[in-house]
């Protein structure tokens, strides 16, 4: 080999290394060469790699996500913007989205979770909404795993630390524990906001020559992508060891919300976009691409918090609490004054151009010059191979009777004190759920209810997913997740309007995992169509695997609904002695994938409970009418743990017991089966309810009445509520050594 060939070979090896470090394939790099017509600069490579990353491009999932229904007369803006927008009447819109911060939360639980909250808040107020509520869906590893406890502590403190300081109430959420999350916790955060329906802000840039403005915090080296950052070749100094997790500053976020909303009240803004994943890169590309324009950035003007930052670092920093705004010409002074009042950075860093190129200059040198159209159009799109998940058999109802010597109420005690069913009070008491004075129903119910400020109407909101169902049957699991949110909104009396989804899966390059994704989308699609309940925003988090062990798939659904009269919002608590307890829907004893099976028999097996969409719709509409007519006094959907767990939760919430009738001979599967499409309801008008149910053709059973201070049923010694409460409330604080 002569010297030139050797040099070439070295250069080629270096290049391959560089491409791989950016998480790109050689084929993707070749596309970039064609887009540019030349070799990229390092900064250009970084920009393209970020834009074409799974996180930003949805390259493995786009083909499937397209199948989700996104339209309805009340949808103002579906997926593709910062958040989804729906019409909630009286001139108002609800804007909401859910987003994951899984990987950062595992590396650094407090900051990972905190910045997850910050990021989703920005997605919502970027569009002109004042955030009114936060929710979160958390999944942690086996409680016995040595890392679990510290991750729980950090994540919960991070969510609280950010949300409490910003002053947006955290009103609901869900938490599960499972060994499949040992190496990958899931932290999904959702924000709901309210805006004037005619004052929604979008990211589409317009007007050649208009100023591009940077506001918020300064840009530092935090959050530059791990994959790129770790490479010694670009950055061999000690700075490169700085954590790849961003650091949140909720105080600045609070100021940024107020400043942006103040500016939005003027008519100075043409478009606005938060700097989220891939920072300035994605916000600039997004704005330019949607407006079919070019954008020229003078990176010397970007407010920096570290010395000597390169174009590459500035473009890819994920420093938090920053926004990019296109202003109308001549409005810079007015806008600048608002941000100065709130003591935030404000800098005109560029302008829109007719070139169609993203141009970035640093120290007078053009470091980036990429045609935006081709960069976006040529974004990779994969139809990855997938295989369907094998169907599991439905277990017979009598497959797993109670363990010897146990009564139903003994088993109930064990379940109510188990990690997945015990009280989450230890978590939600660390969240300010009441700031704003508009929270009608916070954590602990079927769905949260937040009054629309200065009105008597309210939004209901909830997050749900049952990963164990999704792992067993992704289609049914996807369907069930959508339906459960719909049912929970219904149970508080709300009319469900739309959802946001957070698709948490393993490595999509494995056909088995891709098959889970495909199945979940199919199930979600069926449910959305049947319930007229479209998807308006969402987020995918893939590659949730450690050492080749994937998580149980979790297509987490966030649902939003509307209540016309907040005083009718229904709660789960038993209200008065003597009231009749109904269960609506069919109890068939579906024991497969139930928590009873897992906690009492140590088995995770069988098909998950089937979902009958037509029956769900009919029953849900019936229940909602009962609530609207004030015909019932409490309502709770039956989910994890089955019928008797639902009853126990209602009893604890109201501090009132109940006398229950016999179990139709189904035994454990009657009380603990997780048949879908059921609600427990109490009423002081039982005859009226029976009549209404018969007329509507809804199946029901009267299973007892509210009585005393204990759960009582034949064949079991009564279970005192004080004892049950102690069991239910103790597990989590004891686990967290509190």
């Amino acid at each position: 080999m002569n010297m030139t060939a050797q040099k070439k070979a070295n250069a080629s090896a270096e290049l391959e290394h560089l491409i791989a470090d950016h998480g790109m394939t050689r084929e993707e790099y070749d596309v970039l060469l064609r887009v540019l017509g030349r070799d990229p600069s390092l900064a250009e490579l970084g920009v393209a790699a970020a834009m074409w990353s799974e996180h930003c491009s949805y390259k493995s999932t786009r083909v499937w996500l397209k199948q989700l229904p996104t339209k309805a007369p009340h949808v103002i803006c579906g997926p593709g913007e910062n958040a989804g927008v729906i019409d909630i009447g009286e001139g108002l819109a609800a804007i909401f989205k859910i987003e994951s911060h899984n990987h950062p939360s595992y590396i650094e639980p407090y900051q990972g979770a905190a910045t997850g909250v910050g990021g989703i808040l920005r997605d919502v107020f970027t569009m002109g909404a004042r955030p009114i509520a936060n929710l979160n869906a958390l999944r942690f590893g086996d409680p016995k795993h040595p890392k679990t406890k510290s991750i729980v502590a950090g994540v919960v403190a991070g969510i609280g630390g950010y949300g409490n300081c910003v002053g947006i109430p955290t009103v609901g959420g869900e938490t599960n524990f499972h060994a499949s999350y040992n190496g990958n916790c899931l932290v999904n955060a959702m924000t709901v906001g309210i805006a004037d329906k005619n004052k929604i802000f979008y990211s589409k840039a317009a007007g050649v020559g208009n100023p591009v403005v940077y506001v918020g915090s300064k840009t530092g080296r935090d959050g530059i992508k791990g994959a790129t950052m770790a490479s010694g070749e670009f950055n061999a100094d000690a700075e490169s060891k700085r954590p790849t997790v961003q650091v949140g500053d909720p105080f600045t976020e609070k100021l940024l919300i107020e400043a942006c909303l103040e500016l939005m009240a003027t008519d100075a803004i043409i478009s606005i976009q938060d700097m989220g994943a891939a920072g300035l890169t994605s916000s600039a590309v997004e704005m330019a691409s949607k407006g079919n324009l070019g954008i020229e950035l003078d990176l010397d003007k970007v407010p920096l918090r570290a010395l000597g930052m390169s174009a590459y670092e500035i473009m890819l920093s994920e420093s938090q609490e920053r926004m990019l705004i296109v202003l109308k010409p001549g409005r810079e002074v007015e806008a600048g004054n608002i941000f100065r009042k709130w003591e935030l950075d404000f800098a005109v860093i560029g302008k829109l151009t007719a070139s169609g190129h993203l141009v970035g200059k640093r120290h007078g040198k053009t470091e980036i010059d990429i045609p935006v159209g081709p960069l976006v159009d040529q974004s990779p799109l994969y139809n990855r191979p997938w295989e369907p998940t094998a169907q599991l058999e439905t277990l017979p109802a009598n497959a797993y009777p109670l363990p010897a010597g146990m009564t139903i109420l003994d088993a109930l005690q064990k379940l109510m004190a188990s990690p997945d069913l015990c009280s989450r009070r230890w978590i939600w008491e660390q969240y300010d759920s009441l700031v704003g004075a508009d929270t009608a129903q916070g954590p602990g119910g079927d769905a949260a209810v937040v009054r629309i400020h200065n009105t008597q109407r309210a939004l209901a909101m909830v997050v749900d997913c049952s990963p164990r169902y999704c792992a067993a049957d992704p289609i049914m699991g996807g369907k069930q997740a959508v339906v459960e949110t719909w049912r929970n909104l219904t149970a508080v009396g709300a009319r469900p309007l739309a959802i946001t989804d957070n698709m948490n899966f393993g490595n999509p390059e494995k056909p088995r995992i891709m098959g889970q994704f495909v199945g979940a989308v199919q199930g979600m699609r069926e449910a959305c169509l049947a319930l007229d309940y479209p998807v308006v925003s969402g987020n995918c988090s893939l590659y949730n695997e450690t050492n080749g062990n994937p998580i149980m798939p979790a297509p987490v659904i966030g649902g939003v609904g509307i209540l016309q009269d907040v005083t009718k919002a229904m709660t789960i608590s038993f209200k008065a002695e003597g009231e009749t307890i109904f269960v609506f829907g069919d109890t068939l004893g579906h024991i497969g994938q139930s928590l009873y099976l897992r906690e009492l028999h140590g088995r995770e097996e069988g098909a998950p409970p089937p979902v009958n969409l037509a029956a769900e719709k009919r029953l849900g509409d019936f229940i909602r009418n009962l609530i609207d007519d004030r015909a019932i006094t409490s309502c709770h959907d039956v989910s994890d743990g089955g019928l008797v767990v639902a009853l126990a939760e209602m009893a604890l919430a109201g501090d009132k017991g109940c006398h229950l009738k016999a179990d139709d001979g189904l035994g454990a599967s009657y009380w603990f089966g997780e048949d879908q499409g059921r609600y427990v309801v109490t009423t002081n008008q039982p005859e009226k309810l029976e009549k209404l149910a018969k007329t509507a053709g809804i199946s029901y059973a009267i299973i007892g009445h509210v009585a005393g201070k204990a759960l009582a049923m034949s064949g079991s010694r009564p279970l005192d509520l004080t004892q049950l409460r102690t069991l239910h409330e103790s597990w989590l604080p004891a686990y967290m050594s509190d």
């Binding site: 910003v166 105080f251 700031v435 004075a437």
Partner: protein, 220 residues
């Protein structure tokens, strides 16, 4: 009667205070930006809850040095009524309008919870519509509500009947279960619980309303 709510950067319960005042007064209070050094004529000044300046120093310490606070202290010394809630209580302690200080909660975690308070002194403009010893249902939401003062100060507060409210079930480790205190003349009240979040049926308790009704009635 005129009322003013001071808004600091990072205040976040000003809306709650405004709504509770409006309910009691029948009209909105004025909202004053912290950067203003002039305070309009007012009979009541409210320092709302939140995280002024992010509470990145000691809670309330930065806000206590805000331009508007010099004016608040002057007015308070002239007898204008001042109500500090949560972060507002912390600020009042930092300005020394009230004695003592609020430390981190004893369990070192933020706590948002329904609590019972006992009204320790119903003989003040802030508490007159309560009964002495009445137990009320309200909420707390704070990370630094652990009231601390020297034994001498605490004894003096007791002897001088400056303790306004005590927790029935102490959520934060506060000395002698103190939830709220008056200044010597009972013209300044600082308290940790959010009585402004318990003023209408939707809140699950209306026990906080009497505080706002009391002060409004006293100043009308």
């Amino acid at each position: 009667m005129l009322a003013a709510v001071i808004n600091f950067p990072g205040s976040n319960r000003e809306q709650d205070a405004i709504m509770a005042l409006e309910r009691a007064m029948g009209r909105k209070p004025q909202v004053i930006w912290h950067g203003d050094s002039a305070l309009p004529k007012t009979d009541l000044i409210v320092l709302p809850g939140g995280f002024s300046y992010g509470d990145y120093l000691r809670t309330g310490a930065m806000a206590a040095h805000s331009p508007i606070m010099r004016e608040v202290v002057d007015r308070a010394k002239k007898g204008v009524r001042v109500l500090g809630i949560c972060n507002g209580f912390q600020i009042l302690c930092e300005t020394q309008l009230l004695p003592g200080i609020l430390l981190r909660n004893s369990k070192l975690k933020f706590v948002c919870r329904r609590v019972k308070l006992r009204v320790e002194n119903a003989e003040s403009d802030f508490t007159r519509l309560y009964k002495q010893g009445q137990e009320i249902d309200v909420i707390v939401a704070h990370g630094d509500g652990n009231y601390f003062a020297s034994d001498d100060t605490l004894n003096h507060l007791e002897d001088n009947r400056q303790i306004a409210f005590r927790y029935c079930d102490n959520p934060n480790g506060a000395a002698r279960d103190i939830a709220g205190i008056f200044n010597n003349g009972r013209t300044v009240l600082g308290l940790m619980p959010h009585l402004e979040d318990a003023v209408e049926p939707m809140h699950g308790s209306t026990d906080g309303a009497a505080l706002f009704d009391s002060i409004v009635r006293a100043l009308q």
